[in-house]
Every structure is written in C-alpha cells, then in structure tokens.
C-alpha cells in the first residue's frame, strides 16, 4: 500500500483537520464527535440538511457543506457508517428550529445509524433514503438498490429548495422525486485499498472490469473483459434507460462521476460517448456534471447518472451554490 499516511489511527482526524483549514472560509470541522458544518449559523426558518456516510468518498459529503447544499455532514471511518452521536451533535449544532432532513444512502449501516441518531435527536426531523444504483435489479432476491452518486444531485437540488424557504415536508418530497428520477451505474477497472486493510479490497485482472460496482468496491453485476469506452458506456446507459424510461421531450441531466483514480481526460471522453449514444436514442441532455464527486478512494472507474428533470428540478439545479467541491452562481 502506498498512501499519504502517518498512522492509521490518525488518518481520518488528520485529513478532516486539513479539510477544515483548507476551506475555513466556508466550513468548520468539529472533532469528537466529528461533523462538518457551515461557517455561518443556519438562518432562522431554514430547514437544515444533514448527510453523512463512511469516509473515502470525498468530496462527498463534507465537500457539499455550504450555501445552497448541506448544513452539516457526518463522516464515519473509511467505508463505515458514522455513529448516532455524530448525527445528534450535528443536528443540535445546525438546527435553527425549522427541522432537520437527514439524507441517507441506502446501505444498512447508514440506515441503522441514522435511524438511531434521529431517535436520539429531540427536534423535528425526517429522512430520505437514496437508492439510485440500477446495477442491482429489483428482484425477489434483492430488497434494495444502493444509494450512490445521485445523492450528490439530491443534496444540491434539495439544498436549493431549503435555501428558498422550502418546508421540511417540501424538501423531503423534492428529494424523493429527484431520487426516483435518477439512475446510476458504475464500472471499476481497479480495486481500492482501505487504509486499515493495507491491501486491495478485491483482485481484478489487468484486462478485467467489474460491471455495476458499488462505491466501496463491492461486487456488481458481473466481471468482464475490458472493452472500448463506447461499449462500456453503451451498456451502462442501456441499464439506466431501461430503468428510467425517459420521454422523448423530457430534459435530462447527465452526470459522469469519477471513482477517484480515473483522470478527468477520460471522464470527459465518457461524457462525449454518453452524449452521442443518448442523442442517437433521442434522449435530450440539457444539464451536465463531470468530475470526482462520489469516489471510492483511489479506485479507477466511473459511474454515469441520468436525472430526468422537470422545471422545479432545473430551477434548483441552476441556483447558486458555494461549497468546497461545488460552486457556481456566487
């Protein structure tokens, strides 16, 4: 394992402290229990959005704390759900009285810990669970899809509504709509290495890829020989379109997300392939996002997310945002 690391026990603390210093104009980092919160207090009457999850997916979620997105984020250990005391402390810190909406990715550890955090928090709160990963078919064998990259879009779009005085109920409703309108699938070329493990999470041949990989390197649909980008992208989009079935005149946001180890050059190539394929199928792409937003440590690979957009979603996508990892309009 080759990583910038001093010792494993301090890995997360040192990284979080650095993150806090690098973005001290936007956020504060609290340690023990750890949470990232906005520099400025939540304004009265604004619903607070709190997300969180295992670390190793940076910039998700700490990088999305700031105006127009999250109010706080709770980072767990690498690839492990955060603990209920973090959620409770973050909620107490940011809630201005309008309530807290927890945004949770569909992974059992996250669900359980957020549930306990919500039970321990005495203020008004509600939760939404994202489950955009179409890699795992809804079948009698699976009770749920994984929550992955579309969580970024949910946080941006619901964050804007909260900024524009949306109530807790309205924020939850919009978040559920965005989640329902989004589909994601990813492919990995290499494994990631969890610092505590010191070795790659899975073995994969030089000429192989994991199709439908999860954001922790957990296996997906199948192991295949690597193929040209157009073929890979075509297969991913087929799975997503099959699931989302967008209408011909519907507007869509196309999000190409890097897993951490794939250069932007390749991500833009994937974007181009995806645009061409979608155009040939008559699917309109009107908004775009390309970059490393929901990563799996140093894994090489990418995921593609398609989000069907109505006017409400488009308006809140375009509105100003100022976080460590996403900034426009201000």
């Amino acid at each position: 394992m080759k990583k910038f690391i001093n010792n494993n026990d301090d890995f997360l603390k040192e990284s979080l402290t650095g993150f806090g210093k690098a973005h001290s104009d936007i956020i504060n980092v609290n340690l023990d229990p750890s949470f990232v919160s906005r520099k400025n207090k939540t304004k009265d009457g604004k619903v607070s959005l709190i997300s969180g999850g295992g670390s190793g997916h940076e910039p998700m979620h700490g990088g999305f704390v700031g105006h127009g997105m999250l109010d706080a984020a709770c980072p767990g250990f690498v690839f492990s759900a955060p603990t209920p005391d973090q959620m409770q402390a973050a909620a107490e810190h940011v809630d201005s009285g309008a309530g807290v909406l927890f945004i949770v990715k569909n992974y059992s550890g996250d669900i359980m810990n957020f549930q306990m955090g919500a039970e321990m928090y005495s203020g008004k709160n509600d939760s939404i669970v994202t489950n955009d990963d179409v890699a795992v078919e809804d079948s009698t064998f699976t009770t749920g899809r994984r929550g992955v990259a579309a969580t970024v879009l949910v946080e941006k779009i619901v964050g804007s509504l909260a900024e524009h005085s949306g109530s807790l109920e309205e924020c939850k409703k919009l978040g559920e709509k965005v989640n329902k309108n989004a589909g994601t699938m990813g492919v990995a070329f290499t494994s990631c290495t969890v610092p505590a493990a010191g070795k790659p999470t899975f073995d994969i041949g030089d000429d192989e890829m994991e199709f439908g990989v999860g954001i922790h390197g957990e296996p997906g649909r199948k192991r295949e020989k690597i193929q040209p980008s157009k073929t890979i992208v075509g297969n991913i989009l087929e799975a997503i379109l099959d699931n989302l079935k967008p209408e011909k005149n519907e507007k869509n946001l196309l999000f190409v997300n890097g897993m951490g180890g794939t250069p932007l050059t390749e991500l833009y190539l994937v974007y181009e392939d995806a645009c061409q394929i979608l155009q040939s199928k008559g699917v309109q792409v009107t908004k775009s996002l390309v970059g490393n937003y929901c990563t799996s440590l140093e894994m090489q690979g990418a995921s593609i997310t398609l989000l069907k957009c109505d006017d409400e979603i488009l308006k809140h996508w375009d509105s100003p945002v100022h976080t460590a990892a996403m900034r426009w309009g201000m």
Binding site: P33, G54, G76, F77, V78, F79, S80, A81, P82, T83, P84, D85, Q86, Y107, S108, G109, M112, N113, Q115, M116, D133, A135, V136, E137, S139, F141, T142, T143, G144, R145, R146, V194, A196, A197, T201, F202, G214, H216, G217, E218, P219
Partner: protein, 208 residues
C-alpha cells in the same frame, strides 16, 4: 453475569477474533465491503480498554457505558447492532440484584430481539441474525434448567451449523444483498464473527 464477567469475556473474544481476523476479512471482501472485521476489532479494543473505568461500577451502569462506547466508537452496522444489544441489556430490570444464569439468558434474549428489530433482519437472510436468533431460541429453552452446561454445548453446535448454513443462502439484507446470486457460496462474515463470539462465551462458561 457481573462486570468482571463482561470484561473477561471481552478479552477472550478479542483473542479469538484476532486469531480469525484474516478469514473474516476475506469473507467480507467476497460479499461485503471489507469493513466488518475492523469494526469488530475496534469495538473489542474499546470495550477492553474500558476495564478501569467500569470495573467498580454497578452492572447497569457498566453495560450502559459499554453501549455508548460501542455505539459511538465503531460505526457501520456492527456499531448500531451491538450498541443496541448492550443498551437493551442495560435496561433489564433488577440488575442491582444477583444476575444468575436464568436472568443472564433473559438479558441476552432481549438484546438479540432488539438487534433483530434494529436491523429488520430475520433468519434466512444471510446475516449475523442467522446465528443469533436460533441461539436466542435455544437459550430460552435452557434458561430454567439447573444443568445448563450440556445445553451450552448444544448452543455451540447450533451456532456453528447456522453459521455454515449461510454459505448457500441468497442475501436479502446488508451489503451482500446487493449481489443476488453472486453472494451464494460464501459464509456471511457477520454470521462467522457472531458464531465465534457465542462459541467463546459458551466454552468459557462451561469450563468455569
């Protein structure tokens, strides 16, 4: 059950889990995401380190401190589930009185019931509950028996059988559930670690 019993069990379990850590890590990498063993090891280390702060406390308080330590120090599913287990045990009535075998069984049974509710998982879903629920049912049969040591041998056997039975199951809960058919053929890592825990505790009770 006493605070010193809890501490000595934690130490015994820590030793066994450390000895089997490589195997559990591999199981989790096959069908999960590889964090289970680190979470269990971190939790055990934290509990063992609590020794000085809990050894003179009443049982209920000690259990509560263990619960909060596990809940805030582990993360992942294991933290929530085992935190729930200890929190529920701490809420048992009459902990200031002597906790005999019968009472200890009732505490463990209620703890496992709370884990089942927290994880919303039942037998047959390829999780640690495949081991813990049958163990809890057996303890319910045993709790009133005066000659319980031979019964604990059966508990050991049940835990092992149920752990092995997860191998051919499809997962419907936990991260392995996202795999469908591909999870078949691998023992669930949570079932393996739970079985080792049950095995260690039972053997230590039988031999004392």
């Amino acid at each position: 059950m006493s605070v010193s019993f809890l501490i000595s069990q934690a130490k015994g379990i820590q030793k066994v889990i450390d000895e089997n850590s490589a195997e559990i890590e591999v199981l989790d990498q096959k069908i999960g995401d590889g964090d289970h063993i680190f979470n269990i090891q971190r939790g055990l280390k934290l509990v063992v380190e609590l020794e000085d702060s809990i050894k003179d406390l009443p049982l209920a308080k000690a259990l509560n401190m263990i619960a909060m330590k596990v809940l805030s120090g582990i993360g992942g599913s294991s933290g929530a589930l085992f935190g729930t287990f200890f929190m529920t045990m701490a809420k048992s009535p009459d902990l200031d009185k002597d906790v005999d075998f019968n009472k200890a069984c009732e505490m463990i049974i209620s703890g496992i019931k709370a884990m089942k509710e927290r994880g919303k998982a039942d037998v047959g879903e390829k999780t640690m509950m495949d081991v813990l629920i049958p163990v809890s049912e057996k303890l319910n049969e045993l709790k009133n028996e005066s000659e319980f040591k031979s019964g604990l041998n059966e508990v050991i056997k049940i835990a092992e059988e149920r752990m092995l039975s997860t191998k051919d199951m499809l997962a419907t809960k936990g991260r392995a559930s996202f795999l469908g058919e591909r999870a078949k053929g691998h023992i669930d890592p949570g079932a393996r670690s739970s079985q080792l825990i049950i095995d260690t505790i039972c053997k230590s009770v039988i031999n004392n």
